[in-house]
Symmetry: C2
Subunit: 182 residues, 2 copies
Amino acid sequence: MNISAFMATSLDGFIARKDGSLDWLDHANALVPKGEDCGYSEFIEDIDVIVMGSRTFGKVLSFPEWPYGKRRLIVLSSKSLEIPKHLKGTVSCSRETPEALAKRLKAEGAKNIYVDGGLTFQSFLKAGLVHEFTVTIIPVLLGDGIRLFGGIPEDISLDLLSEKHYGFGFVQLRYAIQKPKQ
Amino acid sequence: MNISAFMATSLDGFIARKDGSLDWLDHANALVPKGEDCGYSEFIEDIDVIVMGSRTFGKVLSFPEWPYGKRRLIVLSSKSLEIPKHLKGTVSCSRETPEALAKRLKAEGAKNIYVDGGLTFQSFLKAGLVHEFTVTIIPVLLGDGIRLFGGIPEDISLDLLSEKHYGFGFVQLRYAIQKPKQ
């Protein structure tokens, strides 16, 4: 089982403003040629389970369209969460730790897990469960906001798997964690 | 007059550990082929004045050799600083603000200023005085340390000028600030 992430960040390491706002990303995306999704559809194609926190889930619910189709999604939340009726077939809620969830998904035969949202990504990274991740660096400094990376118990060495840069200034880096626990 | 910076950072945005230690960078550099300096000598060749804070200066003094030859260096420090005798011809100390120093250096005919060290780089960036900078991203996460970037009064939009990646996993990005003040 492979656990990965696919995130956009400002050059100074923020995935959103403090209030969760993505206006700066929308602004940057306005310069992206139509039809260019920076590899997202290729990435998501292989994913069978998406995992995110309740904050990111709330954000995704606010999008004009549900972006994940029939793909299975698990919201990690310590609070009980209301799942909209039309999503109850694919979306579930869990209070499991990253370790417990990873173990369960593996036992269930899941192949490719996508952890999304800053805190969820960080908690899986901290637990040594992430195998690889893709970071798209947007050419802007925000100065403050919600961080992509957080504290970790020890250094994490990475292997650069691939690099791509775009005419509109985005740089996409894909890294593997050198020693994932699982 | 052009003000630029040339920095190495962990992927999570740290230029040193909390105590200033660069062990992680030494560790990464051990994998760099001999003779490969990732463009540093080419960068420094054009520089006529280096500006740094007292902390970075202290670090440079601890290196086995003084790396800047006869190049002029200004240490920004609010405290009075002891300059070693053999460096008194090229190193001076100043309490000027970034704005005042930039104005003076321009009046003196300086062409290419290199601002080094996290706080100095941040204070020039905050003041809108930096024209471009090169960031070399080292494939490691540290989780904590001294940040490359800090708070800024408003978003800073960047243009990606060039990109280079190395077989040993470093990625070097050069950006121009879209609207420098000077």
